[in-house]
Amino acid sequence: MFDRRLVNNFDWILLATLVVIGVLSICNLYSATNTIRSMGGSQVYVKQICWYSIGFLILLLATTFDYHILDRFAYPVFFISLILLAACLKMGKVAYGSQRWLSFGYFSIQPSELVKVSLVVVLAKHFSELEKHRLRDLLRPLVLIAIPFIIIVHQPDLGTALILLIVSFSIVVFVTINRKAILIFLSTAVLSVPFFWIILQDYQKKRIIAFLRPDLDPLGAGYHVTQSKITIGSGLLWGKGFLQGTQTRLNFLPQQHTDFSFSVFAEEWGFVGSAILLLLYLFLILWCLNIARNSQDKFGTLIVIGIAASIFWHLTINVSMVTGLLPVVGIPLVLFSYGGSSVVSTLAAMGLVMNVSMRRFMFQE
């Protein structure tokens, strides 16, 4: 029962947007790692090409089945990703002082990226099956969010934990009809802020203090933000040109291929380039919201909204962070920064979005 509408409805615009972002990301990584002191670091962009290829393959695979069968696989996949996440704590590779990676010889994966996507699907399933809106129906989602959150905090990877929390809370707030429930929920979130301060690592506290009082830590976190602002600002309207960013080439910028990759781009392509990049992301998010609007069932709508929220928050927090609007919390720019697990799982998620988009006519006979 092959349906020709599927091919006709294939979302070429979504695919094209992703390809453009991918190409920009790879070019930018080439530039970011092509510095005066780097030796052997140029492999990064080649790896990113591989990850993008794998990601697009999975994206296409993710469109071949009807997303409603995820209904059945949502929980198993979520639990497998939780087990992988827990395995990290036991035998994970330690890098940058935290255990985020599971090593498989030639490559390593970051299970927390997998959890981000599978948690969205699980939450979408839960809320789409609710008949009524009672306060106690919020209990199960809270548990589902809390388990991976606590594990990730233990790694410790607070950036990812924070994103997980914000994205899933976005879904919860979106679906909750009852205004009182939303109020209770948000006030709980606000009240838990002091608790956050307790679980923060020393270096993270330092970063927040450095954000509020940059003069206190001129050598550490304050230095990162100062340099990032100089890097972005010195791009002016048109930028310094590809491979011409002096800040990047002279290694003044920290983490230039991961968290600060946007700064590299802004230096070389200026306001025009970075605005175009932001518009691409804006378009991607609005396009997703449109798909959510056109989806004919709650499950599909909620999956797409969750994924759109994930991209929105990654982008907003990352760009605010590198432009000095928020403290440096270690959140990469999704699809743009280097990171295999992040690229592959985001593209897989975009495959689900495309899946929903292609099947928007399924219920119309």
Binding site: I36, R37, M39, D66, H68, S128, E129, F174, I177, D215, P218, L219, Y223, T226, Q227, K229, I230, T231, I232, G233, S234, G235, L236, L237, T246, Q247, L250, F252, A266, E267, G270, F271, S274, A275, L278, L282, I285, L286, L289, A292, R293, Q296, D297, K298, F299, T301, I305, A308, F312, T316, V319, S320, T323, L325, M362, F363
Partner: protein, 611 residues
Amino acid sequence: MVRRSDFDPVESWIYQRRLTGLTFLALIAFGILFARLWSLQIINGPNYRIQSEHNRIDLRDVLPSRGLIFDRNGHLLVDNRPSFILGAIPDDIRDADGLLEGLSRLIEIDGITARKKIERGLKWDPFNPVYIKKDLTRDELARVETNLFSMPGAIIEVKPRRHCMYDTLAAHLIGYLGEIDRHQLKREEYKQNKLGDFVGKVGIEKKWHRYLNGIRGGQQVEVDASGRILRVLYQKPAEPGLDVHLSIDGDLQMLAERSLNSREGAIVAMDPRSGEILAMASSPAFNPNDFAKGMDKKGWEELVSNPRFPLQDRVISGQYPPGSLFKIVVALAGLEEGVIDPHEELFCGGRHSFQRRTYRCWKQGGHGYVDFHRAIVESCDVYFYKLGQKLGIDTIAKYAKALGLGCRTGLELGDEKPGLIPSRAWKLRRWHVPWQEGETLSVAVGQSFALVTPIQMVRFISALFNGGALLRPQVTKWIGRGDEEGVFQWKPDVLDRWSVKRENIELVKAALIGVVNEAHGTGWRARLDGIRAAGKTGTAQVVSLPEEEEPGEEREIPYEFRDHAWFVAVAPAEDPVIALAILIEHSGQGGSVAAPIARDILGTYLSRLRP
């Protein structure tokens, strides 16, 4: 496909409204980001552009000054001296050949290496200096300094250099610094250090590196395109390292080293009450200052391949047969096991036959009838052949180990060797042949397989005279800054106690006093005026001479086959304040070579205590 969970109309309406809301939310958030970018890149952009192009902000390290090392009396042993380095900033050099030629006219430089370094610097790291010549002399400094203005790119940097006040004094104990290696970079103790840093490689410099090193500071500086500092924006001062106060007595150490007189050997002195090491000398020594100046490959290879092993600390890693010193162990074992009556006299005819082999006493005519006391005082071999035979090798080994021989002493410094106490099980395991009874006789007089280190012997003799406490030898008294004591302070640490009867210890102690003070005592050359010392001589055979040959004159035996001379001593015998172990390699008998040195050291130390 089942049609399920369609929206109910109210919910659908709410969702649609919220989706519109989300769209506006996204637009607002992006609006803020655009505004921020506009502010950074367009409004303040020119400012940032200037900062990035003409003035770049960089981080510079401020290195802490390394802690000093003192002796127990507060005499400075190691400090830091300024050293002048001629370097060049590759990006500033207009004409590399001209610069090198100009420099070579002033001082002697390695032009080819310098040229290569500049080229590499230009490629990878053009704004940081490459070093052309380290450690300029005052004369060289003056000549370069006055011409510096005419040589763009050349700079002179001042860096602190480790300096040992007395060159080779306590070199093995103090150790030296070297460039940090990859393994050290990963270790916790070196977390303050970066690639290129000089860190402790050996000895105290290594053991207490984490305290000596101090805490690195830093500066956020504005630099121009050539890396020159224009302005310090912020800075965090470096915290100097802590000073290490050793338990070593500098004067005694110097005397010990002079006594060795660059013969191969070791002298170690310990306070038997606390375990503090008063002197530990190993000869031949090296000069740590050669390392600080920058050891070249040739110099290093010379040190490593030197047949006299100047890098080896013989006090802790020189393993020697204990010779007659071991008779103290066998004597204690015999008394404890009750196999001898101290008053019983055994006959020594100068030789002892066992299983068709002859075992000679060192005294050719023999000692005649000797009791326990005389056997130790005159170091009669035959008495101990017979005693060893009665005890058996495994009993001897049990006692030797229980008394603290054949194992590391807990000093935890450098490459301490454990020595060796043989037993039946050991021989089968190591050599796959059963123990020969005759070997027990050789071990009973401290020859053949048994091996000990000087530090083990000084701890052993201390225990005999302090009531049986096996103390941890300690070389550090305290670590702290300036005069404030007690950031870290060490107290005596009793690792183990002998379980030997008091009266047996007293018998042996009396015999050791006799060794030095009685007529015919083998250690009479260590006798002091007015103070009673106690001690024991030892002669460690390097090879056993052929049976038929009578021991000849020292000169006829090749140097490397000559015996090692041992002497252990304490003084005053009643309540010792110093214990001593001396070993001189290939120098002959302990009584004639080592005992006079003991007399010298004990006498000097005690006379200084009681002026």
